[in-house]
């Protein structure tokens, strides 16, 4: 008999994120075949890149680019919300979502928040990564940004929401025959 009695297997950790907070984990997303230049100054640019779409919403990179001859500034002041790159996504039917503070609901049981809802999971001087809960209706899908701290004025660019909807239709379920297993 071993000195070390093996314990029982630990039960799985129930740590599922709410369905509205990320793409379905049993799918591979569809790809929007364009990247969007939303803002450009002499020194900075903001791109919407890597648009990956699920039937419930879409992921993208909010990418801050600096002109190659533009040195990086050391910033010594505290990290304040007002310093952040602000992003708003607008649907053709007037609904909007943004990365402003206090817009992220607390998970509460099975309650689903009303889409669209924007969650920026990464945030920094190079931009961030964004999940948007909800698909846009057909029509123009607008990305608007501004970043006063970096002298980026209010700027916007528009994408045909049809590209997003077509990509959502191409998202693939990984285990289609065993969904209830």
């Amino acid at each position: 008999m071993s000195f070390f009695d093996k314990p029982a297997l630990r039960p799985p950790i129930e740590l599922r994120m709410p369905v509205w907070s990320r793409g379905p984990e049993d799918m591979v997303p569809g790809v929007v075949p364009v990247a969007l230049l939303v803002a450009r100054t002499d020194t900075h640019a903001v791109l919407i890149d890597g648009l990956l779409v699920y039937p419930t919403g879409f992921d993208f990179d909010l990418a801050v680019r600096r002109h190659p001859r533009q040195p990086r500034h050391h910033r010594h002041h505290p990290h304040l919300w007002d310093d952040q790159l602000r992003l708003e996504v607008r649907f053709a039917d007037g609904r909007t979502a943004d990365n402003g503070p206090g817009r992220w609901p607390r998970p509460s049981g099975d309650h689903l928040p009303d889409p669209p809802l924007l969650y920026q999971s990464v945030s920094g001087p190079d931009g961030g990564h964004v999940w948007l809960w909800g698909l846009p209706p057909p029509g123009p899908l607008t990305f608007a940004c501004q970043w006063p701290a970096e002298q980026i004025p209010p700027s916007q660019a528009t994408l045909d929401a049809g590209l997003v909807l077509a990509a959502a239709a191409r998202a693939r379920t990984l285990w289609p025959d065993e969904a209830s297993a």
Partner: protein, 200 residues
């Protein structure tokens, strides 16, 4: 007797530093996109997908999707994103079979894998392309991980292969090929953000 205080070191207000081309895409271009949506490997419990090739004249980025269907009792660690590019598992060592292997293969035989990464890319001479670099990973509730990769170097015409293998997780060497021409055409569609010199 106290020494006179040293003057505060002069902090540079600006740093002219750019990461080299083999570490990240060119900062001053909008990529051309190849809308590939691939499933590289799938077992009853695990799957690895690859989507969204973002092509530039110097190489291409893409996203790996690591998926676990459900939490498996006894499964060690997370779904492997750390091990892929971190130092958690030595790919040549005792637990090598737990190391998720990923690579790209060009039609001329050249390849880049996560088994032979350099960790000192900021120094020394430029490597011979292709090379593979981890840009970012993100994970959620142990079941899903997204890994952004940068492949330095464009493939020659012909098949471009994406290969994975994960012996300890029952994923044998699995390969999906696409036409490299799709990546080359997308790279040609990449456009400069600042086509003209900025006004100074």
């Amino acid at each position: 007797m106290s020494e006179p205080p040293e003057p505060p070191p002069e902090e540079p207000s600006e740093v002219e530093y750019r990461r080299p081309a083999w570490v990240e895409p060119p900062a001053d271009m909008v990529p051309g996109i190849v809308p590939v949506e691939l499933i590289l490997a799938r077992t009853p419990q695990r799957a690895i997908g690859l989507t969204g090739i973002r092509a530039y004249p110097t190489g291409f980025g893409c996203t790996l999707h690591l998926r676990l269907r459900e939490d498996i009792p006894g499964e060690q660690s997370n779904f492997g994103a750390f091990n892929m590019f971190g130092d958690g598992v030595d790919p040549a060592g005792e637990f090598a079979d737990y190391y998720l292997r990923f690579g790209v293969g060009f039609a001329d035989g050249r390849r880049a894998t996560n088994l032979n990464q350099r960790h000192d890319f900021d120094e020394g001479p430029a490597p011979d392309p292709p090379t593979l670099w981890l840009v970012r990973w993100e994970g959620y509730d142990r079941l899903a991980w997204e890994v952004s990769l940068w492949v330095y170097g464009l493939p020659p015409p012909g098949p471009l292969a994406f290969v994975v293998e994960w012996p300890a997780r029952d994923i044998p060497e699995s390969r999906v090929e696409i036409d490299a021409g799709l990546v080359l055409e997308a790279a040609a569609r990449a456009v400069p953000i600042w086509p003209d010199p900025p006004q100074r």
